[in-house]
């Protein structure tokens, strides 16, 4: 897919370009907020990746201008700052996701994919289906091959997120943020503990294992 990258630090920009191209994306890179507005307003990008802190008009200002001009392209903010303040400001300016530097390559790629795929599954979709696994978002019930599976609330939320992003890699951080609203890195295996219980209920005894571990990146639900 086609991605616009705004990053003023040359080394970082080159690194990110290489990373995104290696993952099969087409990248237009720029170093100033003005360029980002000019390029971004064309509207033919799948995702915008904006560094928050660039000299002159920063990423925040550029995104505000783009949103004001009616550009709805999903945007991911990059920042070296770690304050909650920054994230809230970014989201208020119209960003769809937020990633603190430094980050693993897999984290960035997973988030870019998740952003680009965002529109297809609307909130109005009430039933999620992957292979023989079905989740009813209204009744909060899960069945696999017609067999009812009892899940705890947080396990169900976890499975729901995996199914909404079926076929994509979701990282631990994405799960922490979206399932538990934790915007920090826990020291213990919160994700692993829940994932092993979810797998025991959803995958064990059904033959095909739907939840895959992607080494060094996260998890993926595949049909």
């Amino acid at each position: 897919m086609k991605i616009l990258l705004l990053e003023d630090d040359e080394a970082t920009r080159a690194h990110l370009e290489r990373l995104l191209r290696a993952a099969g994306h087409v990248v237009d890179a720029c170093a100033t907020g003005q360029d980002a507005i000019f390029l971004g307003s064309s509207g033919d990008y799948a995702v915008l990746i904006l560094d928050r802190m660039v000299p002159g008009l920063n990423g925040l200002g550029a995104l505000k201008a783009l949103r004001a001009a009616g550009v709805r392209t999903p945007a991911l903010f990059l920042t070296a700052m770690t304050g909650i303040e920054d994230r809230v400001e970014g989201l208020e300016a119209g960003a769809d996701d937020y990633l603190a530097k430094p980050f693993a390559a897999s984290e960035l790629l997973a988030r870019v994919n998740a952003l680009a795929r965002r529109p297809p599954i609307a909130e109005t979709v009430t039933t999620l289906q992957v292979a023989d696994l079905t989740l009813n978002r209204i009744k909060r019930t899960v069945t696999r091959g017609g067999t009812r599976i009892d899940l705890q609330a947080q396990e169900l939320k976890l499975l729901e997120y995996l199914m909404l992003h079926a076929g994509e890699v979701v990282t631990r951080t994405m799960l922490l943020e979206n399932v538990w609203s934790f915007h920090f890195d826990p020291r213990t295996n919160v994700i692993e503990s829940h994932m092993s219980r979810l797998r025991a209920k959803v995958d064990r005894g059904f033959g095909q294992e739907l939840i895959q571990t992607v080494r060094g990146a996260g998890y993926r639900l595949d049909g």
Binding site: T82, G83, P102, Q154, F182, H183, S193
Partner: protein, 454 residues
Amino acid sequence: MADALRSAPIRSAAFRFALLLGLVFAVGAAALLLVVQQQIDGYAREATDGGLRAEAAILKGEYAQLGLSGLTDAMDRRRELGEEAQFRYLLSDAAGRRLYGDLPGEAARPGWNTIEVIEENATSETMTSLGTRLPDGLLLVIATDNFDVRNMRDRLLRFTLLSGVGIALFAVLGGYLTGRLFLRRLDRVNLAVDRIIEGDRSERLPMIGFGPEFDALARNLNRMLDRNTAAMEALRQVSTDIAHDLRTPLTRLHQRLEQMRESEPIDPAMVDEALGQTDEILATFQALLRIGTAEGGVGRQRFRSVDLSELMDRIHLAYEPVAEDAEHGLTADHQAGVVVNGDPELLAQLLTNLIENAIVHTPLGTRIVSRLYHRDGRPIVEISDDGPGVPVHEREKIFRRFYRLDVSRSTKGTGLGLALVAAIAALHRAELDTPDERTGFSVRLTFPDLYPGQ
């Protein structure tokens, strides 16, 4: 040197106040003198005029009853009093000839007049005279001197001047002495300030005295100094600790990178390890930044009502399987509907830090309880365990940055978890303490009453 104040008492504020007071007294005395003099003048004039009028009436009566001889007899009787005689007289006939009396001829005028009389000893005296027409064309002039009134006025003037000058002198002297006293006390304070400026951080201001308000000022300034000293000490300690704490992971990273240069092909496990080291360093910086912003009070303006019951339930559900996997028991006893004013993300971080600490730093089989309740209208959070506990003398220290109990040195972590807890608690104005447990360890957070007075 703060020597601007160490000058003559004559320039002190106390002296200036005294001078001002002296001036006010002087003006007051002058005004008083003026008013009193006016009153006395009025009174004296009334007394003199009344006397003259009465005397004239009496003598008029004598003349009417006893004729001219009766009148002169009456005046003779009065003159026989000599020095004590109150009045002097002049009686003239219709042609203006003197019949009786020793007042000068020009005094022979009817009505009220002021006349100058030359005495035998050549002194001049001002007198008030009243001329009255008698039947048969006679004119009787009675005069009395103003000596008593003038005398009184003079004495009063002297008294007022003397007391005015005296009061002013006392004020100046008092001001000088008070000024000296003030300066001497303040000099001690200034000397203490000098020593503090020159780097003696343990120096404190002496009590100024004079009154509770001055001592309260000195005490407040000392409290400010205590706080600043503590903050500076903490800052110095933190920079030392950061340098110290980061040396280990940086050294390991350095070693890994050197090993990687030697090895061919590069072992991915080594790269992972090096990345792990950088993550550790970054985690330390991230935690330090968060502590810094929380301590700086950043984010308080974004505070809102947080359903602490819901938040703690959510965290409990998140950590129940973690505790189970680590073979710990985690139970929750949360009162429903407890609300605090705060930042939900920071509160979540605080609570998870406490629960993770309890899981990581206690042996298998330890039971952890997460409690939430109200006491006296204040929401209280308590995370306790029945593990080996923390020695009492170390309980204060564990909330410092990089402080680690000897037993937990080997466990992974930044040593900043509880420091962040303390910073977030302080940001929420929640009191943090470690109640004495018979067994294990407990951290308690007492939030401020959200609706005081209800």
